[in-house]
């Protein structure tokens, strides 16, 4: 938004809304980063802290929804403004889900760390790093209104799905081989599943961001790179 609205109060309201959604996004990114860190460093304390941190996000979602609806009623926005507000309403849901998934992962980590740790979680850490990169890129796409970055996020999801598929296969094989570590591997399987779902949510967010930028609805379509 290079030009400003003639009505500066409207500009201000939009900025407040944008800041609030960025706040939510930033918190979620932090939570996911913490979850992944506590995974690779076996840090139960960090995981616990992250779970406690989750409380503040829910009220933010309510505030964002309320603000958005008030703006729709007061300003009757059109064009980019309308797409922005509608996108914000949808994105907040997916951010909330990302947060939930991070919490779930933290719970599993705590469980894992109570058990005897002789499992191998290496490739899951890699997957986690990929997902973390996806989230970062999604946020940047939103912040910078970058169509290319949003596209790139959607593309990356295939690799994450593939990783998940491989990890699942390995873990199942490990389960067969080391029956005493079934519980460990069960938790790892769950963590992998949720990481994959995080990747899907990033894709959803990217699709919404593309709609916000271009006005194109790219859901349920396979994107050609030229679009």
């Amino acid at each position: 938004m290079i030009k400003n609205h003639t009505n500066r109060a409207f500009d201000n309201d939009l900025r407040i809304l944008r800041d609030r959604i960025l706040l939510i996004a930033g918190r979620v990114e932090k939570m996911v980063a913490n979850a992944i860190k506590s995974l690779s460093e076996n840090d139960t304390a960090l995981a616990q802290k992250t779970i406690d941190y989750d409380k503040s996000i829910d009220s933010d979602e309510v505030i964002v929804d309320r603000m958005s609806i008030e703006l729709l009623a007061q300003r009757q926005p059109v064009g980019q403004d309308l797409r922005f507000i509608v996108s914000v309403i949808k994105m907040v849901t997916y951010f909330e889900r990302l947060g939930d998934l991070a919490i779930k992962i933290c719970h599993r980590i705590i469980e894992l760390n109570r058990l005897d740790r002789s499992h191998d979680a290496g490739d899951i850490a890699d997957m986690a790093k990929s997902v973390q990169a996806m989230i970062r890129e999604t946020l940047e796409a939103f912040l910078e209104r970058d169509y290319e970055k949003a596209l790139s996020v959607i593309m990356k999801d295939d690799a994450v799905d593939e990783l998940h598929h491989l990890i699942t296969k390995r873990l199942i094989a490990e389960m067969h081989a080391h029956k005493e570590l079934v519980e460990n591997y069960y938790h790892l399987l769950s963590i992998a599943k949720w990481l994959e779902r995080m990747g899907d949510h990033c894709t959803n967010l990217a699709e919404i961001i593309i709609y916000m930028i271009k006005g194109q609805d790219v859901r349920h379509k396979r994107l050609a790179p030229t679009e």
Partner: protein, 256 residues
């Protein structure tokens, strides 16, 4: 299902000059029967000048040059053998400030077009007036006082009277130049509702500076800026994802 509608009025490279000032610049636009076309744009963008070409109202102003073609059912309305009075019978106009004739009764107002054009009709005067007033959603309110002076009506009623007056001539095109600007919100809503029922039988063009009204009332919207037609598209597309950045700037209020 919408049937294919023949284009009723089309302009080809229409330009209008007031002396040195170019008020309308090479505008080509089609208006179709069965739909409402809204024309939006900031003050001075040429939208009122444009609409007044469609019924040759500029004939009465000295120093106005009109170039280009305006076709009504394929015939150029500025052609040499065309009678402007017949054009104005086929292209009706309603103005911003309601202007019923104060020295005439409601009935006389509705039928005043006949006094001006000597149009022939097989129906009786009472029939014509009743049909026109019904089509303008005014009949029930005035049926008991058709001979009362028109000044006794409220602003919204007066505007509907002006619409009835135009409809009595059975036009093909209806030009509305900011018809609700001088009215309160309830009267505005009634007239917007009326426009919705009228559009099946007429080609309606509405000039409005109220974008929400354009969005509510029209199927096609045209955006004018400095005399040029910047963009014309389906209303719902123009207001959610306009193609031109200038249109986007105007509708989101980033203009000026």
């Amino acid at each position: 299902m919408t049937q294919a509608t023949a284009s009723t009025m089309t302009t080809h490279n229409l330009s209008v000059r007031y002396g040195k000032h170019l008020a309308v610049d090479q505008v080509s636009l089609s208006i179709h029967s069965g739909q409402v076309t809204a024309i939006i744009g900031p003050s001075g963008c040429g939208k009122s000048t444009f609409i007044r070409c469609l019924n040759r109202m500029h004939d009465f102003i000295a120093g106005v040059e009109v170039d280009g073609q305006i076709l009504l059912d394929g015939v150029d309305i500025y052609g040499p053998s065309v009678d402007p009075v017949s054009i104005r019978r086929r292209v009706g106009m309603v103005f911003q400030k309601p202007n019923p004739f104060p020295h005439m009764s409601i009935m006389q107002n509705v039928l005043s077009g006949f006094a001006f054009t000597r149009k022939r009709t097989s129906k009786s005067k009472e029939e014509i007036a009743e049909i026109a007033l019904k089509n303008a959603a005014l009949f029930d309110e005035v049926k008991d006082r058709l001979n009362a002076p028109s000044g006794a009506l409220s602003g919204g009623q007066q505007q509907r009277l002006c619409i009835a007056r135009a409809l009595a001539m059975e036009p093909e095109v209806l030009l509305l130049d900011e018809p609700c600007s001088a009215l309160d919100p309830i009267s505005t809503a009634r007239i917007e509702d009326l426009i919705h029922t009228l559009r099946t039988n007429y080609a309606i063009v509405i000039v409005t500076h109220n974008m929400q009204q354009a969005a509510r009332v029209s199927q096609v919207t045209a955006y004018f800026l400095s005399g040029k037609l910047i963009e014309v598209d389906e209303t719902r597309k123009l207001f959610t994802n306009p193609a031109d950045q200038r249109t986007e700037d105007y509708i989101t209020g980033k203009f000026g």
